[in-house]
Symmetry: C2
Subunit: 295 residues, 2 copies
């Protein structure tokens, strides 16, 4: 069975999924993306991702390519055609195709692409796969709240980590604080045992959907989260550290810039949050969660 993609209204074999070279996603990174995990046939945090998609598009004045209800249908149809049980859906909406010109062209429609990836979500294996993190300067633009495909700085950060045998790069902003990972949010359990992650104010980091879900779950479970920025120096002395993201989920961090975190294994709070998230994403109805506020 060939892998199937969705491109601008058509289901096509993955190998033939293409866009014109004058698509503004290709020439200008004038586009938005989301990645949604599929676990046991259930789309994890679907509404949170679609909320954020709408919000990012609205910041760029790109119309939603179709009503949300239709997006949900296309996702399910793509999952069905690919007979996918576990993996992820990648979707990208661009401003559309037009003769190259920086400013927004008139009279074009957004391009809409959806592709799927296989993956396994084995919680116990992932808890054991403790990750290394390195820190790098945060070179990104100032609108990090917009989930755009202008991802070159993140690509370079991730590669800088890979060059050092690490899994993720935590980016240090101009004030010396960790902003976030190149494709994840950054969390620590600090010296006092507090669960700490950076606030999302001032467009300084992306408002992670998995981060949001963890917040809601922690609220339900009465686990306190302290939202404050922290430095690499503080992170080196953390009792636990982990990243959160849509498909890497909760990834325990055992080493930051060569400093061992805790005993170098998945910490207790990390493991508990991982279990909570997996229960939520796989089987449970979503807990009460604040809807994305587009403004």
């Amino acid at each position: 069975m060939p892998r199937i993609a969705y491109v601008n209204g058509r289901y096509v074999p993955h190998a033939q999924a293409s866009v014109h070279v004058e698509d503004r996603g290709f020439q200008f990174a004038d586009s938005i993306y989301e990645v949604i995990a599929l676990m046991n046939g259930r789309l994890a945090d679907e509404e949170g991702h679609l909320d954020r998609l709408e919000r990012s598009l609205s910041e760029l004045r790109i119309a939603l390519p179709m009503p949300r209800k239709s997006i949900r249908i296309v996702m399910r149809e793509l999952v069905r055609r690919n007979r996918l049980k576990n993996g992820s859906i990648y979707m990208q909406v661009t401003r559309g195709q037009a003769q190259r010109d920086f400013k927004f062209p008139k009279g074009i429609s957004p391009s809409f692409v959806m592709i799927v990836y296989n993956a396994t979500y084995d919680t116990e294996a992932r808890k054991k796969a403790v990750k290394k993190v390195v820190t790098v300067p945060d070179l990104r633009w100032k609108r990090r709240d917009i989930k755009s495909t202008a991802l070159l700085p993140q690509v370079l950060a991730k590669q800088a980590a890979a060059d050092k045998g690490a899994y993720e790069a935590w980016m240090i902003d101009d004030d010396g604080y960790i902003s976030e990972g190149s494709s994840s949010n950054a969390w620590i359990v600090d010296g006092k045992g507090n669960l700490v992650t950076r606030p999302t104010a001032n467009n300084r980091i992306l408002k992670g959907v998995t981060r949001n879900a963890l917040q809601a779950l922690c609220k339900r479970e009465k686990i306190k989260i302290i939202e404050r920025a922290f430095t690499a120096k503080e992170a080196y002395k953390a009792k636990e550290a982990f990243t959160s993201s849509a498909t890497a989920l909760i990834a325990p961090v055992g080493e930051i810039d060569g400093h061992k975190i805790g005993n170098g294994k998945c910490g207790k709070i990390t493991a508990k949050l991982f279990d909570l998230y997996m229960d939520y994403a796989r089987d449970n109805p979503p807990p009460q969660q604040e809807r994305w506020n587009p403004k």
Copy 2:
């Protein structure tokens, strides 16, 4: 005669010029571009653009897709097939196509796309088409020396200008100085009659090829250029102002944020530089010019 594009080794009708949705140019803006003007059948500043292409690619550790000699041949073949006399060639090199992953994939080849556009280069008409400029905050990343397709900030800047009926946005950096235009370098003739443009040091702006050519021409003509940053406030009081870029060439600026520049028409020094540049680009052998230093 259909318009012809070049995509990964093949000459194809423009309408069929496409790339896979997993091309890293589309998903990550992991790619570099150049635009070269064609005037009277002559590629303006060809070597300067190819020097910069190589330099940008090398900063991203992307291989040149083919030897420079072959790129020159493809450009000429594309011009020939399109029977193009005046216009521009747009070329884009991406890291290539691979399953989506932030870090550099192994074992892939760069994608290479070339398309052409028609244009006219009527110097006198362009001197009369005096442009409006507005200033906007510079939201870009820190590696502005790399000519990447992660152009979303520039798109938003250009649109902010268009929203105000202006042609170009001059971006103001965190220190309060004008960095450059969204798709051009910024120049003024200051109150003392000095020709001023910002230095390219510290990766703060793109090293414009047209800017370089102007430098070489001014050197030849013994016109002094002062390289220093200037503020919007200083620009408001400038005697003349203009932008330089590969296809907009030397564009006179008659208004900045509503402040009239000089008498609102193309200034004398601007006009002289425009003529010098057009002579150089159209007919003359290139003046002695410093080759791009890749490091």
